[in-house]
């Protein structure tokens, strides 16, 4: 579950807006009233229990400690200057790099004091309290060195692979805050990178050697897209984790004033853009355009259409057609190695399948028997793709995708393509 907060909120809101218009609008009204402050969340401050987060006060589910209120917000920050916080994407005022998305806890403090408040106020000296930002675990799944970023199956280690113009594959290691792993911990990690020989097609395993805080090995100059995978042991006695990388070009350290990064592992920003409107079904175009014009944050163009959520169409043929598009989009993300983005079209496809589920009673009994298990399977496999997308093992993703295609095919064949 990578960079998903924004798109998911859109999905959720769009879905519930259709399914449950009344309750959603009242929620929206109250949300709008408190627009200054994100809602309170309750977290555990015990080391190791950072993933405990609740929407109400109480005791930590892991250690029993009293939970502490915080406010979490999605902010845009400079890749290397985390002191910069902005509410919308843009360029870092310090070095001109594209801002990246992170989840942070916000609090308010007085200069010199160590007490943090969850709302702004006035200090004893009459000055307004200062807003403070602190990162959260898994708040940042963005590549730090222009490469491809994955999470390990232990949910704690994270890594980023880069392919350098010298023919070197370099692997940066991080913790759950995307902080570089301390040397002592990096020392326990070993791995190898595997590439296919261009002539013989045989796999060649190149052990990675440690160089400071990263591991690297020379794979040589490969034609693009350069495909390789890493086998990593996070502890000497642990099984190998596999991470698949596809590089369209050599990785570049984000440079001052660099153009918007378009490598495959780009974070899924851009929940709603004006470019979504022309793609929307004809019946909804005008309202969608109007709504998105007012709703859309300022975003750079060139967003992959697969990452743009569309409303679920009304008619079965339109839903089927969009389902086909989403199925192809997952394929193209897999081919490009953009595993962290797969969940977006996968969840959209799942929502389309659930919309078809509402139409299944119109089908003859024979077709319904095919459609029903196929829809259930597609929903299940969408979540499987979501889980695998974060882990970055191409073989597992491809196997899950094969199941997804099976289910999508059964769905396509059981519903009428014409009205």
């Amino acid at each position: 579950m990578g960079h998903r907060v924004l798109p998911i909120v859109i999905f959720v809101a769009a879905l519930s807006g259709i399914g449950r218009a009344a309750p959603q609008s009242s929620k929206a009204a109250s949300a709008a009233k408190d627009i200054e402050l994100p809602p309170l969340s309750y977290v555990c401050i015990m080391a190791g229990d950072e993933d405990v987060i609740e929407d109400h006060p109480g005791k930590c589910r892991k250690c029993g400690m009293e939970l502490v209120p915080i406010r979490l917000d999605t902010v845009w920050t400079c890749p290397v200057h985390a002191a910069i916080h902005d509410a919308k994407p843009g360029k870092c005022p310090i070095d001109g790099r594209q801002l990246i998305q992170m989840t942070m806890a916000i609090s308010w403090t007085c200069p010199g004091g160590d007490k943090e408040e969850t709302a702004p106020g006035t200090c004893a000296n009459g000055a307004p309290m200062v807003k403070k930002y602190a990162p959260r675990p898994h708040g940042n799944h963005n590549p730090q060195h222009g490469g491809q970023f994955f999470m390990a199956s232990d949910n704690w280690h994270h890594l980023e692979g880069t392919y350098l113009p010298t023919g070197v594959f370099r692997m940066h290691l991080y913790d759950d805050y995307t902080k570089p792993l301390p040397l002592a911990q990096a020392r326990t990690i070993s791995g190898a990178v595997v590439v296919k020989d261009q002539r013989t097609g045989e796999e060649k395993t190149i052990p990675l050697t440690r160089s400071g805080q990263y591991l690297q090995g020379t794979v040589g100059k490969l034609p693009f897209p350069a495909v390789m995978y890493a086998k990593v042991k996070f502890k000497p006695d642990a099984p190998d984790n596999r991470f698949d990388f596809t590089f369209d070009s050599y990785s570049k350290e984000p440079a001052p004033g660099a153009a918007p990064r378009t490598t495959s592992a780009a974070p899924t920003t851009a929940p709603v853009t004006a470019s979504a409107a022309p793609a929307a079904s004809s019946t909804t175009t005008s309202t969608t355009a109007a709504a998105s014009a007012s709703a859309a944050p300022e975003l750079s163009s060139g967003v992959d259409p697969a990452l743009v959520p569309l409303p679920v169409p009304e008619t079965v043929p339109e839903i089927l057609s969009q389902l086909r598009t989403r199925t192809d989009q997952i394929r193209s993300f897999i081919d490009k190695g953009s595993f962290a983005s797969i969940y977006v079209p996968a969840f959209q496809a799942k929502d389309l399948a659930l919309a078809l589920d509402a139409h299944k009673n119109d089908l003859p009994a024979e077709k319904r028997k095919v459609a029903e298990p196929a829809i259930a399977k597609l929903v299940r496999v969408a979540y499987m793709l979501d889980a695998f997308g974060d882990l970055g093992n191409k073989q597992q993703i491809s196997e899950a995708y094969a199941k997804f295609v099976e289910a999508a095919k059964d769905i396509q064949s059981s519903f009428p393509a014409q009205p």
Binding site: R4, V5, I8, V9, V12, A14, L15, S16, G17, I18, A21, Q24, K27, A28, A31, L37, P38, S41, V52, I53, D55, H56, R61, L72, D73, T74, T103, P137, G139, H141, D240, N241, R242, V272, T284, T288, A291, S292, S294, A295, P297, E314, L354, D362, K369, E372, P373, A374, I375, A376, K377, V379, R380, Y383, M384, A387, F388, N393, Q396, A400
Partner: protein
């Protein structure tokens, strides 16, 4: 089914505005942010109560109750893994291959609600909302049986054992042969009765292996599942004075580690309400004892010597964690998919076909067993890149439940 397009437009416009309003206020912790619009109290609890609580309840056989928020939320990640892997609810047949009577599954909507909740921060709902208490129901789902036979003695699963298997013999005491439509088991101590096989102990035997033999396995019992009464017209034959065998697998969950627990279960037999019926027969499909494994897969088959109608299939002796696909290859070469199983230990059952499959003489029942673990999730999260744990090919047996073509109902 067409919705009113104007209301749709308004709803979409409204929802996008709502999304915009939420955008700036959403808690944004990537992994556990509360993104689920479904809450435990309102949406998840009714599903868990109706679909899972026969086992996942205090005193049930499952290792955890899911019937209160405090019980369920620590298991959210585990719920996600079990649902996504297709392990729960237990139903090992692949969707979309063959045409089976489906017993115990979640609807797509139910699946989505629980998964959205499990991955979306597990919101509880209103704190002051009181949910109805769910308690263990240990009763006969089909009502009181016609013949209830208690196992002869209490069995104790010792303090130092986590599981054990025990076979009991129960004299039926019947004076005449009867047709049986269903057989069930009522655990004495539900928390340790994990599975059971109930069968007619047959002294006779000796029928030629080429001909279908009477089905002696009356039930593969699993917890939380209703016994499936077979279609009217088909029945198991219970001979006069039959001895009933029941082999029970007792298993403790971690909650009872180090404790001794005793059980005395009861077998329940439901007679068919007819004088005449067609007896369910069986045809075993066996792999040769030393099947040479070609790579990781084994194919074996049985060709039918007579016209039959196939009604059921069970995998009696098949290793766990493999994929088994069964197809009927008709004499004209056409193929009918029958079943594809992802086998799991302790979840064997008899699968009934939605409709009897007419299989003419000369039809080949082909079984393909693939020894690569089909379970993508378990390989992803526990042992990636290793195949050492893959089960070794061994002799396997599946049982096809058949009726001879043109069979006429008879007295038992």
């Amino acid at each position: 089914m067409m919705r009113n397009s104007v209301s749709i437009r308004i709803a979409i416009a409204g929802s996008l505005l709502a999304a915009a309003a939420l955008l700036s206020t959403v808690p944004g912790e990537a992994h556990k942010a509360i993104t689920s619009k479904y809450t435990y109290n309102d949406d998840v609890f009714p599903i868990l109560r109706d679909r899972c609580s026969r086992c996942h309840v205090t005193g049930g056989v499952a290792p955890m109750s899911l019937t209160t928020y405090d019980d369920a939320f620590p298991w959210a990640e585990s719920i996600r893994a079990e649902l996504v892997a297709g392990h729960m609810p237990p139903w090992n047949a692949d969707e979309g291959f063959g045409n089976l009577k489906r017993a115990h599954t979640l609807s797509p909507k139910e699946l989505d609600v629980v998964l959205t909740w499990a991955t979306g921060g597990n919101p509880r709902g209103a704190l002051d909302q009181k949910l109805p208490e769910v308690t263990l129901k240990n009763e006969w789902p089909l009502g009181a049986p016609d013949l209830a036979l208690k196992v002869p003695a209490e069995f104790t699963l010792a303090a130092d054992k986590m599981d054990d298997t025990q076979e009991f013999t129960l004299p039926s005491g019947t004076s005449e042969a009867r047709w049986v439509r269903a057989v069930d088991l009522l655990p004495g101590t539900p928390s340790i009765v994990r599975s059971a096989t109930i069968f007619v102990k047959d002294a006779a035997g000796g029928a030629p292996a080429s001909a279908p033999a009477p089905e002696r396995v009356l039930a593969h019992w699993l917890p939380g599942q209703d016994p499936e009464p077979i279609d009217s017209g088909i029945a198991f034959r219970l001979p006069a004075g039959a001895q009933i065998g029941v082999r029970i697998h007792f298993k403790k969950t971690w909650q009872f580690e180090g404790k001794a627990l005793s059980d005395r279960s009861t077998v329940g037999i439901y007679y068919a309400p007819v004088k005449e019926a067609t007896e369910l027969l069986t045809l075993p499909i066996e792999s040769p004892a030393a099947t040479p494994a070609q790579g990781q897969s084994v194919t074996f088959s049985r060709t039918l010597a007579d016209d039959v109608r196939a009604v059921a299939l069970s995998a009696d002796s098949v290793p766990p964690n493999i994929s088994v696909q069964v197809e009927a290859i008709h004499p004209d070469g056409s193929r009918t998919p029958m079943i594809r199983l992802n086998t799991r230990a302790d979840w064997d059952r008899r699968y009934w076909f939605e409709k009897p499959l007419a299989l003419p003489r000369g039809t080949k029942i082909e079984v393909k067993a693939n020894f690569e673990d089909p379970d993508l999730l378990s390989t992803a999260f526990s042992t990636p890149l290793t195949t050492a744990s893959a089960p070794k090919p061994t002799a396997m047996r599946l049982t096809l439940g058949v009726l001879p073509a043109n069979s006429k109902p008879t007295a038992p």
